[in-house]
Symmetry: C2
Subunit: 472 residues, 2 copies
């Protein structure tokens, strides 16, 4: 990520609503993030438009053809993110992402983005727990140039002490602005750290402040040398290209880069059973709107076995999707007027275990404990009443429409493939997903709901409060 732009996309997921005014927008953002922008059977995009190949050095490639505009999105995704960091070096994946915009043996400091811009393009990067990705959007005839530059910085990055000093300050400032100045972000960080007992998903992507401050050149170089190699990378090109063009250019630019024979196996510490209920209370005078969250450990989409996650995606929409037709919003916001907002989130794209989170923002005058009790009550009623088949059909229809709409943007489509492929899925999994969603029955959804909220499942409950309202 360049110093002056965007950031760590997934730090806002799934626990981090940033203030109530942003909650409503957040619903849309979260729902968008949950959408794999993929092919609904028989819809606009045929599966045949997406092709794959693998270079001899192990670099995987996915091509998404779209000839409507003479532009192309070029992405390189590394199967390495914050959850792959060495202990004590939290933030190094994201820090390296910053340093990737510095010099290489061929390019001087900052030249990368200047060249993209001079060619009429834009570029950026993002880091999550499971991946780090770099991308440019340019005219289709500049694809070779983009590959040349991206290949260059895959192995020939130059990191100077001066760059490290500068960018460390930049990242610390980024953390100060995005996390430390936001009670919601701090709350989110504490929640995740308490939620994950053993898995590094509990460590913030941007890093703990005290560990960012200690990151040095040797750390960055070691991480780069270990993980930045073609056999750990996925090329995704979407837009006005043919698979043949992409393969030819990829051979020229990425083909000559040697695989890293010492690429470590991708295995992170995994979660032990959650056998205790946990509560996290964070109080901050800057909190505009107090709220509560309740999180459950939930399985993620796994290759060849996405049915459970599909049921969870639909369950999240039934309980707390956007609008007020979902169970939580309809009951607590509309009928009872006890909530300003109530929703449910689930992130299905994750290499390892994931979480399912409910949120309730009570109306002024109700306590946070009452807000937790409201969630429990609505959930219990839902488990009794079951699913309204009409609501489910409506949600499936909306979802299908959103999937089709999402395909209209090659960048988001490319991003969905990148996310899927770096979280353990295949192109086939992505293409089968809409059919699996469509085939999910009310019975499937109630089965995962009972498992998720059942008596033996433990919860992590979060209270975000102003100091005066932090009670019991």
């Amino acid at each position: 990520m360049r110093a002056n732009t965007g950031g760590i996309f997934t730090t806002v997921l799934p626990f981090a609503p940033e203030g109530f005014m942003r909650l409503c927008r957040l619903v849309a953002i979260l729902c968008a993030a949950l959408l794999p922008g993929v092919v609904w059977p028989g819809a606009l995009w045929g599966a045949g438009k997406v092709t794959e190949f693998t270079l001899e050095n192990g670099m995987q490639a996915v091509v998404i053809e779209d000839h409507r505009s003479p532009a192309v999105v070029h992405m390189v995704w590394y199967r390495t993110g914050a959850a792959d960091e060495p202990p004590g070096l939290s933030g190094i994946a994201h820090f390296l992402e910053h340093l990737m915009f510095k010099s290489t043996d061929d390019l001087e400091n900052g030249a990368f983005s200047r060249i993209v811009e001079a060619n009429g393009g834009s570029d950026n990067a993002f880091t999550s727990w499971d991946y780090t990705a770099y991308f440019q959007r340019v005219a289709a005839d500049r694809l070779g140039l983009m590959m040349e530059m991206e290949a260059d910085r895959m192995r020939d990055l130059v990191i100077t002490e001066a760059d490290v000093m500068t960018e460390r300050s930049v990242v610390l400032e980024e953390r100060a602005q995005r996390t430390d100045s936001s009670p919601e972000a701090l709350f989110n960080e504490q929640l995740r750290a308490a939620f994950y007992l053993n898995h590094p998903y509990g460590i913030p992507i941007i890093g703990w402040q005290h560990e960012i401050a200690g990151l040095d050149r040797a750390d960055a170089l070691a991480f780069y040398d270990r993980f930045y190699a073609p056999n750990n990378a996925i090329l995704i090109v979407a837009g006005d290209v043919t698979p043949g063009d992409v393969r030819r250019l990829a051979q020229v630019h990425y083909g000559p880069i040697a695989a890293n024979p010492n690429l470590p196996e991708r295995a992170r510490p995994s979660e032990p059973p959650h056998i205790a209920d946990r509560v996290v209370r964070y109080a901050d005078p800057r909190v505009a709107t107090p709220y509560v969250t309740r999180s459950y450990q939930a399985a993620e989409r796994n290759t060849g076995a996405q049915e459970h996650a599909a049921a969870l995606v639909l369950l999240a929409r039934i309980l707390g999707g956007s609008g007020t037709t979902a169970v939580l919003g309809r009951t607590l916001q509309i009928e009872e007027e006890r909530s300003l907002f109530a929703g449910a989130y689930y992130q299905p794209l994750s290499l390892d275990t994931s979480e399912f989170t409910l949120i309730n923002v009570p109306v002024p005058g109700l306590s946070l404990d009452e807000a937790v009790a409201d969630l429990d009550r609505v959930l219990a009623d839902f488990l009794d009443a079951g699913i309204d088949p009409e609501q489910l059909e409506r949600i499936k229809f909306q979802y299908a429409a959103q999937l089709i709409y999402a395909q209209d943007n090659v960048q988001s489509l490319a991003r969905e493939y990148g996310t899927a492929l770096t979280t353990g899925l295949t192109v086939q999994d992505v293409q089968e997903w809409p059919g699996i969603i469509a085939a999910t029955t009310p019975g499937d959804i109630m089965a995962v709901a009972r498992q998720l909220f059942g008596g033996e499942r433990r919860t992590v409950t979060g209270y975000l409060a102003r100091p005066a309202t932090t009670g019991g």
Copy 2:
């Protein structure tokens, strides 16, 4: 640790009272554990009785002379424990400790302990977060033999696949018996995991069950090769020996072993500020006596700067030391009869950050929430009332007596030096400790109390309950 004997000493510290019947015994055990068995100025043992030297290969040695009986305790401590384990390999330090009793190139499987026994001795080992130690107690004239065997297994351990299979089953059974069959131990494990947001002190010494099950021969060998070397070891010999004898024998047996030039720097991920209060509720039908705990992050003893920890040690004794003259016990057990037991624990010997924990076991009929409120109330009253100077003098006198008494056992004295030296202290620190304790004033103690319990400090509160009593 041999398969059929003792174990991970410090897993019971500091959160793990195992059932109320054991609580009272635990008080004594914990207090003993808090005692550095060291020299009270002017008391029985002079500092001159403890001498040190370092071999050329970096192996540090401490000799504690005691000629009252013709026996000797021979210990080798490694500055490596469970908190030094690679991510995902929890339990490997303790697992390796088991494997150290298998064969070497010179000794067949199990011969080590048989030879010790045949020589009239006994041997054992223990693993903590900060250290792993091996020791034998034998007749003084067998010291050379012990060193010969300990030096042999420092570099020439043989680990077979069969040993790994067998001992992994043994460790899994050890975990099943010590942790999984004990609600108090499981509670303790969940508490620690929730208490430490980033530091590996949150990972159980014995390891998570699912990670123990995956430990293999390569993991054990890699850990052994990395950490078992003279420049990571401390020799402690206590008993009927002279420093000259020990140095001569150490030169012969340990001197020839090469240092490991690749010994990693000892740096663990450290804790970010604790900015949220956390609650852990563990309910188990096997719980005999429900209780609550409240834990605070607390500084440990640091070399050359032990005053803060000394004040915390005395604070723990003032609030919740053994007997019912301490503030918590006197108020809640004797005066108000609201507690079966109330106490305070603090572990000053820790390489990195430590914790200060209060415990309250309410009488039947009182809820756990009331038990938490009782702790808060007594603490608040204590912060208002301050320290009774007579109580402090009595506690200091008792402490001094315990220190002197502890010196009567060379094994515990050796252990105290080993613990201190592997947690970042020096022999001088150990010897200065009693004087620092003696010089601690009521004002010093109240200052750390206000800092520890002050408004900005966050807490982790634990509820151990039977399922029927899990409320709120």
